[in-house]
Symmetry: C2
Subunit: 393 residues, 2 copies
């Protein structure tokens, strides 16, 4: 019996546990101080009423013999796939329903998709990065190279023709940097993928925060992307589904490698290793696309976007360099006075009682940067920014 | 870019599509005949009222700011893990809460668990077999050998010391044969696993159908199993969750291979590639363990068990050899008159308008056998058996 030794190459991430530890210590010593947490990557607004109603209606159906649902299609029910198809059409992207696979979230699919690729592919991930891209490939024993994201390129690295890779991760709007690729930027990556016979794994989990038609919210807005890209999307940030679990992955039929349809490979993977998303959750996700649901979730997205704007405006006033804040719930800022990430964390915690996330936790290029998020409540966001203004003016 | 070429070694299963095709043809030619389907592997009774109520209550919580739940623990909420811990205690099996991992179903975990093992392990699966055991290993490029299950061993193969393997699949009560291992039988497998440094993957998805304390419903009822076995269980057949999706996997801390804790490996796998089961579904699963929930689901299990008894009693009357029928929702019968599986399928369809599943679809040793299930309704089951009696007496 041999275990998968690649697991021994994984590094433990202490980022969030270190933050928790420092916060706990501070709170114990300073029980009277009002701490404001702007480090949270989770949503805080409740599910929309249309979604709650859909769950309850579906639960009632499940309790009655003639409307009960047993095993559903592993790829998801047609009603949800067709709703997503219509959502793409509004972006002027035409996708067939059987190119859409319903999943329990982008995180699962971003990891599981690697099943259909050989171990010997070279992987390109940006630095800084969402750690899951790295760890899932280490588990499979793949080699990883990094695309340098930094202040010079606005944390939006472009392809380097001297570097050869097979699997490319792009997240736009980006976690953790909030930076968003233009159509021209994505076009360069699509061209690179074609030239190098590579596949782009496009993480669009934050697409709903994009407010401009000029910026691509799907990689399929770029010509030729269907031949080289798989897109991952989620209801987590769009509709507050982080604890309700639903996402979708698009694998176009045009995507053929070594004469094999990746759509067929992924279908085979999902029908063999997955049994679909709960019926009640798929009905919940469908409700997101109803007129009522769209109105309600857009109010929530607008609430978070306004928080982001409040943070971004404060950074503008202070002359702090940052990415994100617009078209993204994240603000990725350069620590003032050339502080290092953890130094700035300690400074904020001890002086203005605000908690954020040290950029160094997301990769080498994150050192000296810091992530604030807009998922908190309005009053706290406003108060935290008043404290920022006072401390750094 | 290289695809995972192991996928090209997968054989397409035409079992259920062939059945569907033949049934469709028959129905078209004989629109007046009342077809009875006893081939179904899915439950048909609705969710228990206690479960429906729990979903609706959880949905309401999700719709209110201060009870809303975002990301939960990937391994599942403590309330559900502790309920499962108590369920095991009733079987006199002591498991710690952090040895229990909540999943979206046994099928997912049975596939995903392979992530933590090296590709070069030798896999032992019984023949006939639930196809997922085979396909998930073919996808990973592992070698598979078969343990012969047949009439002579009552479709309960025992270990052969001449054969060396690393990963052993055991499903008891078995799908498709309904056969159930005794404690003595499982003890032999546990001894073999220890001797060969192997891990047993124990699929207990049908444990709720066991009616006798003499028969093991968990492999951990066998001394030493915690050092060599991972157990997979599900609410699918227990509580009609096939479309609601919840299961659990037990990885004991005593299970150490090559100085590595498989519990820690699986925790790392799940925290990296999974984001937990929906809160509303975990509340639904918790309700299964309430007094009310237990009473309600036991009525459903009893309903299916009675159907199974009606089928088994009919086979007894006809002198047809079978396994299952007791402690299982499946009846695996030897086709009368030495008919082959598909021959018998056609005979039943055309003469008594009953649909079952040809055993040959589950492996070579299934040839000449046939699976009937007890998941249909009472009236149809009774009528189908009357037709059997008339046709074969």
């Amino acid at each position: 019996m041999n275990i998968n030794k690649n697991y021994l190459n994984l590094e433990d991430s202490y980022l969030f546990s270190n933050i928790a530890k420092k916060v706990a210590e501070f709170t114990q010593k300073n029980p009277d101080k009002k701490l404001i947490k702007l480090g949270i990557g989770d949503v805080t607004l409740p599910l929309a009423p249309a979604v709650v109603d859909a769950i309850k209606k579906a639960a009632d159906e499940m309790g009655v013999q003639n409307t009960f649902k047993g095993y559903g299609p592993e790829q998801g029910y047609a009603f949800l796939r067709e709703a997503i198809q219509s959502y793409y059409l509004k972006k002027k992207v035409s996708i067939q329903a059987d190119e859409i696979f319903i999943s329990d979230g982008a995180k699962s699919d971003l990891g599981n998709i690697l099943d259909i690729f050989s171990q010997d592919n070279m992987v390109l991930v940006p630095d800084p990065v969402y750690p899951v891209y790295v760890d899932t490939n280490i588990m499979a024993g793949r080699k990883i190279i990094y695309a340098e994201a930094n202040k010079e390129n606005g944390f939006l690295p472009l392809p380097d023709d001297k570097i050869k890779c097979d699997i490319i991760y792009i997240c736009s709007p980006n976690n953790p940097t909030g930076a968003v690729y233009t159509k021209d930027g994505l076009k360069k990556w699509v061209e690179y993928a074609h030239k190098n016979d590579a596949v782009i794994l496009f993480d669009a989990a934050y697409e709903c925060f994009i407010k401009s038609d000029e910026l691509p919210s799907s990689i399929y807005e770029i010509d030729g992307a269907k031949n080289c890209a798989i897109e991952f999307c989620s209801f987590s940030k769009t509709a507050g589904f982080t604890g309700t679990r639903c996402g979708y992955t698009v694998v176009p039929k045009e995507l053929v490698k070594q004469n094999c349809s990746l759509n067929k490979f992924w279908l085979r993977r999902q029908t063999t290793k997955f049994n679909g998303v709960p019926y009640i959750v798929q009905r919940a996700a469908q409700a997101v696309f109803s007129d009522e649901g769209q109105k309600q979730i857009k109010e929530n997205i607008e609430y978070y976007s306004q928080n982001a704007k409040i943070i971004a405006d404060t950074m503008d006033k202070l002359g702090v360099w940052y990415t994100g804040g617009k078209h993204s719930p994240y603000i990725w800022l350069k620590c003032p006075n050339d502080m290092k990430s953890w130094e700035f964390f300690d400074y904020l915690l001890n002086n203005i009682y605000v908690v954020g996330t040290p950029g160094a936790g997301f990769g080498n290029n994150g050192e000296g940067y810091f992530r604030l998020t807009s998922f908190g409540n309005r009053e706290n966001t406003v108060e935290a920014m008043q404290r920022f203004l006072k401390a750094f003016t």
